[in-house]
Subunit: 307 residues, 2 copies
C-alpha cells in the first residue's frame, strides 16, 4: 500500500511523539523532520532514523510531493508556520492552544487553504481538540445544563513558561490541580535566583493574569536538578455534564482520561492528518470533522465495526 | 426566526420524547404526529397539543413543506418508513438499532436519498449513535488497544420483546447488567401463563440466540401489575479504552453515562435532524457527521465557545 508522506516540523515533545505515531501507523511514513540550523545533529535518538533538514525543498527534491506537515513548533508560531506550508501546497495540522484565538485562526487560514487547494486543521490536540468534540457531543445529547472541564493533575506548559519569566525566578514548573466545578489550583515549583526573595516572587506570580484567577501554591526547590525530578508528562481530564434532554432532567455524562500528554497530542494530530486528506480545501477544527475520517480503513468497514 | 418543520412518526416512547425535545428547542417546531388509524385519540397528553394525523399529505397541505421526519416506529419498519418519506422529499432520522445491519441500511438508503436530494440519518440514538462516535474518537486517540462497552443496568427492549415471545410467558422484561469486560448478565422477570412450568420456560429462554451467549437469571413475578413496578427508563453505559498512542502505553479513557433512555435517544435524533439539514444528500450514521452540525447556532460562534 502506498503511504502518505508526512513531515514533522520541530523535534520537541510533539515532534518526537509524532515520529513515533507515524512509525506505528499503517498508512503514513515520515519523510523528514524540519529543524532550525542550530538544532541539527542534536537529540539524534528522538529522530528514530528519520533524516533531519532545515529546508522543506530538500525533502521535496528527495521524496516528491509531501502530503502533510505536522507542526511541532510553539503555538505562537502556528499561524506563520501554517501559511508557509499551505502556500507550498502542503496540508497542515497544528495543536494551537490559545482558546480565545481559535475562531480567528480559522478565519485567517481558511481563505489561504482554499486558494492553495489544501486543508489546515488547527487546534488538534486534546484540549483544544478531542475535549472540544466531547463538549460539542455532550451539548447535542443534553442541550440544557452545565459542563465542567476539570484538568489535571498535570503539567501546564503555558503556566510554566509564564512562571519562568517572572522576575527572581531562575527555573519553574506549574502543575494544574482540579478543584471541581471546572476550577483549578496552580502548584508552582520555583528555583529562585540567588538574590531573590521568596515572598516577593510569590506576589509577582499571583499578579500575573495567568495566575490571578486561580488558587495558588508556590513551593521553593533548591535547583533545576531537583526540580526536574518533580515533573513528567502525565495529565488528565474529568469532563462532567448534567442537565436535561428534552424535558427530562438528571441526564449525567462523564468523560475521564488519564494520559501521557505529548503522546496523545501527537496521535490526535496524526489522526487529523488522515482526516485532512479526506476534507475539502479549507481550515477546520476537530468539531468540523466527521469522526470516521480520523481512522484508517474504508468508511463502510468502520461503520460496520464501530457504529 | 423561522423554525424548521418536523413531523414525528409514531407516539411510543421515542415519539413522546421527540415532541418534548422539539418543544424546548429554539429552531424546530413539530407540525404533526403520524399515527395508525386505530391509535388516533389515544394518549392525548403525550401529544402536548400537537395535532395527530394518519397521512403526511394532510400535514403538508396544512403546513407546507416538511423538513424532517423523526421515526418513532420499530426498527423492523425503519427501512420501509424511511424510503416512504425520502421519496416525498423529506429528510429522515431513525434510531435503527440492529448493529449487524447498519452498513447495509446505509448502502440501501444512500442512492434513494441522493435521488430525492434529501438526507437520511440512520442509527441515531446512543448505541448505536453517540456511543459509536465515542468508540471512533477513542480509536483516533488510542489506535492500539481494547474498548469495552458495558451496558446497564437498564431495560433492554429487544431482549424484552424476545422474552415475551417465549412459549409459556405471558409478560416479561429483560434487564441488562454489566459484568465488566464488555460482558453482560440478563435478568429476566417473567409472568407465566397459567399452565406453564418455570424450569421449562427458563430453558426455552436460555436456548434463544438473544440469551444463549450471556449469563441468565430468570425470576418469576405474579402478574403484570407487579411486573410493571420493576421497570423504568433508566439506563447507562461505561465505555473503557486502554492502549497506546504511538509508542506510549497506559493511555486510559472512560465514558460513563447515566440517563433516561428514550429522552436521550429522542434528543440525539433531534440533534441529528439539525445535522441532516446541513449535510449533502445521502445516507449517514453519526460517525459521518461533523459534530458542530448537531448544535443550534453559527459554526464560528460554536467554535469560539466549545473548541
Amino acid at each position: 500500500m502506498k503511504k502518505y508522506k508526512a513531515v514533522v516540523n520541530g523535534l520537541g515533545n510533539i515532534g518526537r511523539e509524532a515520529i513515533a505515531a507515524i512509525e506505528v501507523s499503517g498508512d503514513f511514513e515520515c519523510v523528514g523532520v524540519i529543524r532550525r540550523k542550530q538544532s541539527i545533529g542534536k537529540n539524534k535518538n528522538d529522530l528514530r532514523g528519520i533524516d533531519e533538514y532545515t529546508d522543506i525543498s530538500d525533502i521535496i527534491n528527495k521524496h516528491g510531493k509531501v502530503d502533510v506537515c505536522l507542526q511541532g513548533t510553539p503555538s505562537r508560531n502556528a499561524k506563520e508556520d501554517n501559511i508557509f506550508y499551505l502556500e507550498k501546497g502542503i496540508n497542515t495540522v497544528d495543536s494551537f492552544d490559545v482558546h480565545g484565538e481559535i475562531a480567528s485562526m480559522v478565519e485567517s487560514l481558511d481563505p489561504i487553504a482554499k486558494k492553495n487547494n489544501v486543508v489546515a486543521i488547527t487546534s488538534s490536540g486534546w484540549d483544544p481538540g478531542t475535549d472540544s468534540i466531547l463538549r460539542t457531543l455532550f451539548e447535542a445529547m443534553i442541550p440544557m445544563g452545565t459542563t465542567f472541564t476539570n484538568f489535571g493533575r498535570g503539567l501546564s506548559m503555558g503556566h510554566s513558561v509564564v512562571a519562568r519569566s517572572i522576575e527572581g525566578v531562575s527555573d519553574a514548573f506549574s502543575i494544574t490541580i482540579p478543584l471541581g466545578g471546572g476550577k483549578h489550583s496552580r502548584l508552582v515549583y520555583v528555583v529562585l535566583e540567588s538574590n531573590a526573595n521568596f515572598d516577593d516572587v510569590c506576589k509577582r506570580i499571583k499578579k500575573d493574569d495567568y495566575f490571578a484567577h486561580d488558587s495558588l501554591d508556590v513551593r521553593e526547590v533548591k535547583n533545576s536538578t531537583e526540580l526536574s525530578r518533580l515533573v513528567d508528562s502525565s495529565h488528565g481530564v474529568l469532563m462532567e455534564r448534567t442537565g436535561a434532554s428534552g424535558l427530562t432532567s438528571n441526564q449525567i455524562l462523564k468523560f475521564d482520561m488519564r494520559i501521557n500528554n505529548p503522546a496523545l497530542t501527537s496521535q490526535v494530530m496524526l489522526s487529523s492528518a488522515r482526516a485532512a486528506l479526506r476534507m475539502q480545501a479549507g481550515c477546520y477544527t476537530l468539531i468540523d470533522i466527521p469522526p470516521v475520517y480520523f481512522l484508517e480503513g474504508e468508511r463502510l468497514d468502520n461503520i460496520a465495526r464501530l457504529v
